[in-house]
Symmetry: C2
Subunit: 466 residues, 2 copies
């Protein structure tokens, strides 16, 4: 089961589309490997998503120059020792043919090419300081690393950012193929995690099964895996805790393809293999919220309204359980949802797990829209009107966070309508999140991650199978 | 099977030992997480080895100040949202008690503490540019990232580097316990890789089994795993190739413990489960070289001489096979070993897989010794007289590198005494390396990685078992 590779024509089409949107020249750098504990022991190289989008290959130190209506790749020349340490590298003419580029030239010629590019050369900062320093030198102006938020409006860099957003926010066919493959293989990792849970004594043993399964499909981690019995800590990266029969395990794990496309899946399952009645009740409440939200991933729907749907559905279900009392509308208005669901319902998904987040909220918030101020809503990473080709996550949750439950500035407006005696019966539910990747289409939403067991029956069956 | 944790007294003793070696104050930074594709999606945080050595915990952005005869930790104050996103963080007084520190203080107070430290505060650069920029600001002088090679002699920074080397180059009991645990669990990963090979169609499937097994023991990758049927490419990081029955698979894979201590193991096994007669012959030649070298990991032996022993033993064995002709001494003198074994026989091992390589050759080359100029020998990363407590790798190899075999500047001196007709019979051996981690003691060398199957019989048995 090999992962699909995008056709070279897909990248050529993307480069042409970018050229068509640009008024002037632009330079996009791949970035440099980042040292882990010393220079020769670096983190696995992950090229800039903009570069991957346009070339599909991760070439450390390389850069794509768009000028005079064509795209040229500037790459480091092979070094004499490469054959020994890194294998025979493709020649420039081989690279040119493989990638259907106008030209491939040594990095040393880039400075002259920039000078002859016919105007101010726009760029986007990379995340690594070394590459941004190099861009500063090549472009003879200051380029700060990872400062997408700080790109000034009206500049060529700003125009380049908007052009890249316009291309990347709606996925083309090759991108959708990659996202589907990442989602399907990542779903297998969740099944592997469910199967590995019985017999596991610590979180890391379950994480190991999931990471191993991602690698078996040739996926890298799209982000640091969260595998924990303390799901109420949203970004819990450690895997140290012991797991016990009464615990729920939360796994937020997704892989990325060699071309860089991500999946992002969260599932929750009982360590024992069987949900307790209280766990079952809250799980069904979150699932109802998630399914109501997924159903609204349709053309023209404003994403913030989907967030509201998830929150309202959750509050309604918790009211049915007696955790909340009174009128649902009133509860929602008073911020009841955020007491248990304090984050946004999801985000864009693509080459980045939070797609285009390197450019701040520019991609994810339509012009004139800003993040809401209210607790819970202010973590909403996305507020576009959805269009076919956009991929988003839908990931409501329920968390008992002691710091929130003790914070009168959050719970005060709901007051006695939060029944803490009833809530106390659900002490074996610390954190639940259910997350799928969903493609907006012209018709019904396509749930890319549907192969990951989600109903209680499907999860319990997966855990029982070997 | 939980990994051992070093006692807090071990770190306190290391800090006292450092203080005893310093004439003035010093500051050692943990470093910062490095962004992967955007700021909130960072590579797993790996603290500076110097910091880990002295504290045993990876605290992003923290720093240890040694001044006035005591060690104080400066750490970022917990942020209001931490309880939600990262969980309740230990308070400063909890950190102080856990780590037996003189004091734990907020980072904001560091600048004043540096001013009152009683002299120029020495430091060592971290690998990440953000931390080095921060050090520059705190110390009010320029600290360049990852520039261990550039520390000027006679400066406080140089004295600090030498003090850290003096401590870290011979491992204390807690370090040896960590290295043993990393080695034993990494050996299990090699067994998992051997077992996963039958039925695998691509390198990444075998790598997946090995990485999964590392994680199951709570180890991270100490370095990017090399798992390839093209072992003749020394640092082959891709896992894309198909594997076929006649291939040898080379796996250079080691994990590191949560405290940061590394293992580094290479094994080679036949994809089919059985070595061919030609593969067997070359494997035994490399194994003879490796065992002869391991036997010399004894107190007082110069490491360069061990490198020479490995080369000479290999040449002798290849002469017995008819690949070389003539007198062994003469062949060695004419550079015969490097034709097939072009790298050094090993390096220091500790918190870094190439231990202390962030400080250049300072730790690994005794004063007055420099890297040899000759091809092959110039890649020798270590040339100390061994002492008890030093851990080194021993990793000779045999590689048919087309670029080397075609290079008359390398093969010319051996000329017709390299019998290319005989060599052609061994075309099914592209690359073999056999690598163990060895602790120098007062007596016989301790092979930390001995649980990884190494004899042909042991490998074939491991591959057959399920």
């Amino acid at each position: 089961m090999l992962l699909p590779r995008s056709p070279v024509t897909a990248f050529a089409a993307r480069r042409s589309a970018l050229l068509a949107r640009l008024d002037g020249p632009a330079l996009l750098a791949a970035g440099q490997p980042q040292a882990r504990n010393f220079r020769n022991n670096s983190h696995p190289f992950r090229a800039s998503s903009h570069f991957l989008y346009l070339l599909g290959a991760a070439i450390p130190g390389a850069a794509l120059l768009f000028a005079h209506g064509e795209a040229q790749l500037f790459a480091p020349a092979p070094e004499p020792d490469d054959a020994l340490w890194h294998g025979v590298q493709p020649s420039f003419s081989e690279l040119q043919a493989t990638h259907a580029l106008a030209a491939v030239r040594p990095l040393e010629e880039l400075q002259d090419a920039v000078r002859d590019a016919g105007g101010t050369v726009a760029t986007l900062p990379t995340e690594d300081a070394a590459s941004s320093a190099w861009l500063s030198s090549v472009l003879a102006r200051r380029v700060l690393p990872g400062t997408g938020h700080a790109i000034a409006e009206g500049t060529p860099d700003h125009a380049l950012a908007l052009a890249m957003i316009a291309l990347r926010v709606r996925h083309d066919a090759a991108a959708v193929t990659q996202l589907r493959a990442a989602a399907e293989a990542s779903a297998q990792a969740h099944i592997a995690g469910m199967r590995a849970t019985r017999g596991a004594k610590h979180e890391f043993e379950i994480a190991a099964a999931m990471i191993g399964e991602l690698r078996r499909h040739h996926l890298d981690d799209a982000y640091s895996p969260i595998v924990t019995v303390h799901g109420e800590v949203l970004h819990n990266r450690g895997h140290d805790n012991a797991v016990a029969a009464g615990d729920l395990l939360l796994a937020d794990v997704g892989g990325e393809t060699p071309e860089g496309w991500a999946a992002d899946i969260t599932r929750v399952w009982p360590v024992s293999g069987t949900f307790s009645p209280t766990q079952r009740a809250i799980y069904e409440a979150v699932l109802a919220a998630q399914e109501a939200a997924i159903a609204r991933v349709t053309k023209g729907t404003r994403y913030r309204d989907i967030h509201a749907t998830a929150g309202r559905t959750l509050v309604s279900a918790l009211r049915d359980l007696g955790i909340f009392k009174g009128d649902v509308d009133g509860l929602v208005e008073r911020g009841a949802a955020a007491i248990f669901f304090p984050h946004g319902v999801g985000h864009l998904l693509g080459l980045d797990v939070h797609d285009l987040e390197d450019l701040g909220d520019r991609a994810a918030y339509a012009p004139g829209r800003v993040r809401p101020a209210r607790f819970g809503d202010r973590y909403l990473r996305l507020d576009l009107d959805l269009e076919p080709g956009m991929a988003v996550t839908i990931e409501p949750g329920f968390y008992q966070v002691p710091a929130i439950l003790a914070d009168a500035s959050i719970t005060g407006a709901v007051g006695a309508d939060l029944d803490r005696d009833v809530l106390a019966r659900y002490a074996d539910v610390r954190g639940i999140r259910i997350e799928d990747d969903v493609l907006c289409t012209d018709g019904a939403p396509e749930v890319l991650t549907r192969a990951a067991p989600k109903s209680i029956a499907a999860i319990e069956a997966a855990m029982a199978s070997q």
